[in-house]
C-alpha cells in the first residue's frame, strides 16, 4: 500500500514539473511548482520513515522516533545559521539589535 502510494506521489511530482515544462519557451519555474514539490516531498518522507523504517506500529517505534527526531534542533540551527545567512557589512546591523529601539 505504502509502496503504491509512494509511486503515485512520485508520479505526481514528475507530472507537476512536466506541466511547467518549457516546451520551447524560456524556462520559468514558478514558486507554484516549488510548492507542489515541497508539499509532496513531505508525505513521501513521512511514509518512508514511518512504514519502511518501522517508526510506526512497532513496539519500539515511539522511542526510536524520538531518537530520529533528536537532531532536529541541530539541523534547524544549521539551516538557519549557515543556510540562510549571508555576509554583510556591520553598518547593516538591524535596528532591533540596537539599544535605541527599546
Amino acid at each position: 500500500m505504502n509502496f503504491i502510494g509512494l509511486m503515485v506521489l512520485t508520479l505526481i511530482e514528475v507530472v507537476a514539473v512536466g506541466f511547467h515544462l518549457p516546451d520551447e519557451r524560456i524556462f520559468v519555474f514558478s514558486n507554484y511548482t516549488l510548492m507542489i514539490l515541497t508539499v509532496i516531498a513531505i508525505p513521501k518522507f513521512i511514509m518512508i520513515a514511518l512504514i519502511f523504517m518501522h517508526l510506526y506500529g512497532e513496539e519500539d517505534s515511539g522511542i526510536l522516533t524520538v531518537t530520529a527526531l533528536f537532531p532536529s534542533f541541530f539541523i534547524i540551527i544549521m539551516i538557519l545559521f549557515i543556510g540562510l545567512t549571508h555576509p554583510e557589512a556591520t553598518t547593516g546591523l538591524p535596528a532591533w539589535c540596537r539599544p535605541g529601539t527599546y
Binding site: H86, P87, E88, A89, T90, T91, L93, A95, R98, P99
Partner: protein, 249 residues
C-alpha cells in the same frame, strides 16, 4: 599603557573590576575550603554520604544554593550584555540619521567629531575611504577626498620594512569600505582597537552580490599614530603585512 581607545579602556576596566570581584569570591572560597577541610587524619572519617564501591552515594545538594548560583551568573551576564550594548552600537554604527556619524559629508564639510566620557564618538558627517588587502600589502585609497583630509604614502618601520601609510585628519570620521583581491585579510588599527575582515568577492557578480565590509575610523582627539597589522591569516608574509596610520592636524 594607554594605547587603546577610551571606549575599549572603559569596557576593559569595567570587566576587570567584575572579574576581580568574581575571582576574589571564587578563590577565597577555594583556598579557604582547600585548607579548612583538608584531611587531618585519614582514618577517623565518618563518611557522611555513605560512599562505598558499587553504591551510588547519597545526594549532597541544596536546591536554594544551586538556584542561587544559576541566577547570580545569569543576572551578571545580563548586566554585562547591557553594559556592552552601547559600545557595540557605537563601533558598528549604522549610516544615516540614526547612526552616530550621520550622512556622508558634502564637499568641504567637516565631521567635527566629539568624544564623550564613555569613549563613544559622534560626528556630524563622515568621509568614505577605501582599504584593499592583497597578499601581502595594504592599499589605501582616499577616493576623491582632498589631501588635507586624507593622504597616502609609505614609511619605513623596523621589522616590517616599507609599509603603506595612511594619513587622516584629527577630528574627522571615516568609513572605510574594504575589499580584498585574493584571500581574507583584516586590518587591525592597534591604537583604535578595531578590526574587520576584508573579503574577496565584494565586486563579483551582479548588483545583489555586493557585500563589501566596512570599518568606522573616527579619528577623535585621543587617536594618535599607530601600526596597522593584518589579523586574518593570509599566507606566507602575513606577519609582515603591516601599515601605518598617521594622524595629522
Amino acid at each position: 599603557m594607554t594605547i587603546q581607545s577610551s571606549l575599549f579602556q572603559g569596557l576593559w576596566d569595567y570587566y576587570i573590576v567584575i572579574s576581580i570581584l568574581v575571582s576574589v569570591f571564587t578563590f577565597t572560597w577555594l583556598y579557604h575550603h582547600s585548607f579548612w577541610y583538608r584531611s587531618e587524619d585519614s582514618d577517623g572519617y565518618d563518611n557522611p554520604d555513605e560512599i562505598a564501591v558499587g553504591v551510588f552515594p547519597k545526594h549532597n545538594d541544596d536546591m536554594r544554593l544551586e538556584v542561587a548560583w544559576t541566577v547570580a551568573p545569569f543576572i551578571l551576564i545580563v548586566w554585562l550584555t547591557y553594559v556592552s550594548w552601547v559600545p557595540l552600537d557605537a563601533v558598528w554604527s549604522e549610516t544615516g540619521e540614526d547612526g552616530y556619524h550621520g550622512e556622508e559629508c558634502e564637499d568641504g564639510q567637516s565631521s567635527n567629531n566629539q568624544l564623550d566620557g564613555y569613549g563613544v564618538v559622534t560626528s556630524e558627517c563622515y568621509h568614505v575611504i577605501e582599504i584593499t588587502g592583497k597578499q601581502w600589502v595594504w592599499a589605501f585609497d582616499c577616493l576623491d577626498l582632498s589631501t588635507e583630509l586624507c593622504d597616502t604614502g609609505s614609511d619605513n618601520v623596523e621589522v616590517y620594512g616599507t609599509v603603506p601609510l595612511l594619513s587622516l585628519k584629527k577630528g574627522e570620521t571615516y568609513l572605510a569600505n574594504m575589499r580584498s583581491e585574493d584571500v581574507t585579510h583584516a586590518p587591525w588599527f592597534l591604537g583604535m582597537g578595531v578590526k574587520e575582515d576584508t573579503l574577496y568577492g565584494a565586486e563579483i557578480g551582479p548588483s545583489e552580490y555586493e557585500w563589501p565590509t566596512t570599518l568606522w575610523l573616527p579619528i577623535s582627539s585621543e587617536v594618535g599614530d599607530q601600526i596597522i597589522l593584518c589579523t586574518e591569516y593570509c599566507g606566507d608574509a602575513h606577519s609582515v603585512m603591516a601599515g601605518k596610520l598617521v594622524v595629522h592636524q
